[in-house]
């Protein structure tokens, strides 16, 4: 095992919108404060000297696009002004939708196979309060929030990260079949899958029957886009469920068929934070 989840955090974002904040810019200023606080908290798991080694902080998203695409908000607005950030956001990746975190890791670790740590945040917040994103027939109710991961790269192997795209447009069954192949013969592996309502989840129930997996938390959180597999790990981590080391396959699938997986190890030294909703 080569990727170790040093720390992970999730903060639900339920009430930050352009109207509640007074403007879109103010809403993003609020989000950037949360990003700053969460990143600082996650980085507390390692020493200040090691923090300086971290070369990249990817910010990924599925549904935050129009503020950036229209030019209303710039990437630089994601970092708070006037506070020293240990590892500011360097790269905003949303093209691969829910699988953006996996494509970012694939790119970075190919470029920097000797990197020791990498940080990824996944932000999905309905700052424009659009009904399309509140719920959708493709994933049921949505959940919004910010997730940050600090991964230690112990000895990277390409197979630890998968980032690819379904061949067909029947994407969820194809994705489940791919996960099935990856997990076959791996009795030590626990699957952490995206959250879906029952009508979609039954694809996983049927095709991944018999494989150990974390429970679907759609009823509690809704579909939280790329954060789902990590939020599930965070929820179990804060409950103290990782007293023994576990190997987990975090898996995400996007509406357009992009998918990604990361095999990570967690243990009782991993730190987890689940904050109150803002």
């Amino acid at each position: 095992m080569s990727l170790y989840l040093t720390s992970a955090a999730f903060t639900p974002i339920e009430s930050i919108t352009f109207s509640s904040s007074g403007s879109l810019r103010s809403a993003f200023a609020h989000v950037s404060e949360i990003l700053f606080e969460q990143s600082t908290r996650v980085l507390g798991a390692i020493s200040p000297d090691i923090r300086k080694e971290i070369g990249r902080h990817f910010l990924c998203s599925t549904m935050i696009e129009l503020p950036f695409t229209t030019g209303a908000i710039a990437e630089s607005d994601l970092n708070v002004v006037g506070k020293e950030q240990y590892v500011p956001v360097t790269s905003f990746v949303n093209t691969y939708e829910c699988a953006s975190w996996g494509y970012s890791l694939r790119y970075y670790l190919k470029q920097n196979p000797n990197a020791r740590y990498v940080m990824v945040s996944i932000l999905d917040a309905n700052v424009l309060d659009l009904s399309f994103w509140q719920s959708n027939e493709n994933w049921g109710n949505s959940g919004f929030g910010l997730c940050t991961l600090l991964l230690e790269v112990e000895s990277f192997e390409k197979k630890d990260i998968t980032a690819s795209c379904a061949v067909t447009y029947n994407t969820t069954p194809e994705f489940a079949t791919i996960i099935r192949k990856m997990a076959t013969g791996r009795d030590d592996l626990i699957l952490s899958l995206p959250f879906f309502p029952e009508n979609i989840r039954q694809i996983f129930t049927k095709l991944l029957n018999g494989f150990e997996q974390l429970p679907d938390l759609h009823g509690r959180w809704g579909h939280c886009f790329g954060s789902d597999p990590w939020l599930n790990i965070v929820c179990h981590g804060v409950n103290g469920d990782f007293q023994q080391p576990k190997k987990i396959l975090a898996c995400s699938i996007a509406l357009n068929g992009y998918y990604c997986t990361a095999e990570v190890c967690v243990d009782q030294q991993s730190t987890f934070y689940l904050s109150e909703a803002v």
């Binding site: 695409t69 790269s91 357009n256």
Partner: protein
């Protein structure tokens, strides 16, 4: 000394003028009055839309094909890509050599500092009025000096391609690259 070659150009017409167009507005559905109010706070681009989503992807795929045909040994390609995308991206964009970003500049700066060879395609070609952009393209090639013939052939190939698909004011600048 390695070099940074930059090709800039402006799109002045539709890249594929003799082909029928699919109507592809591709905005997300707006259901409530509040949805329309929310969208109305966003800036709207007044520059002409010269192409649709499919044509934009075709254009970038053809540029990547042009680059590949010269067999330049460049393992990294950064693409500026705006969302929403209106559908699944071409497989060429999903190659492990490629990373698509909302803004390529910060990631490109890392490659610059590390002295790595790369190609960055930074276009501001709007496909919808809710996309900013002024129909410019910048293609930057960071390469080693000792393959200069190959890279100049590549520059010539890209420039010819850009002109063929409706770009004007194609200009090339070369800088010494400071790692």
């Amino acid at each position: 000394m390695s070099k940074l070659i930059e090709i800039t150009a402006t799109l002045v017409r539709n890249p594929y003028p003799d082909l029928p167009k699919l109507c592809a507005a591709r905005t997300l559905p707006l259901h409530r009055e509040e949805d329309f109010e929310a969208i109305s706070i966003l800036p709207v681009n007044s520059n002409p839309m010269m192409q649709n989503y499919a044509e934009h992807y075709r254009l970038i795929v053809e540029l990547l094909g042009c680059i590949k045909s010269f067999e330049a040994k460049i393992d990294t390609c950064l693409l500026r890509m705006q969302m929403p995308a209106g559908g699944r991206m071409p497989k060429e964009f999903l190659d492990e050599k490629v990373l698509m970003l909302q803004d390529v500049r910060a990631e490109e700066a890392f490659l610059q500092r590390e002295g790595k060879p790369y190609i960055a395609i930074e276009d501001t070609l709007p496909r919808h009025p809710l996309e900013s952009g002024n129909n410019k393209i910048q293609i930057r090639i960071a390469c080693e000096q000792n393959h200069s013939d190959l890279y100049w052939n590549l520059v010539e190939g890209i420039s010819t391609k850009l002109k063929a698909v409706g770009f004007d004011a194609v200009e090339t600048t070369v800088k010494d690259r400071t790692a």
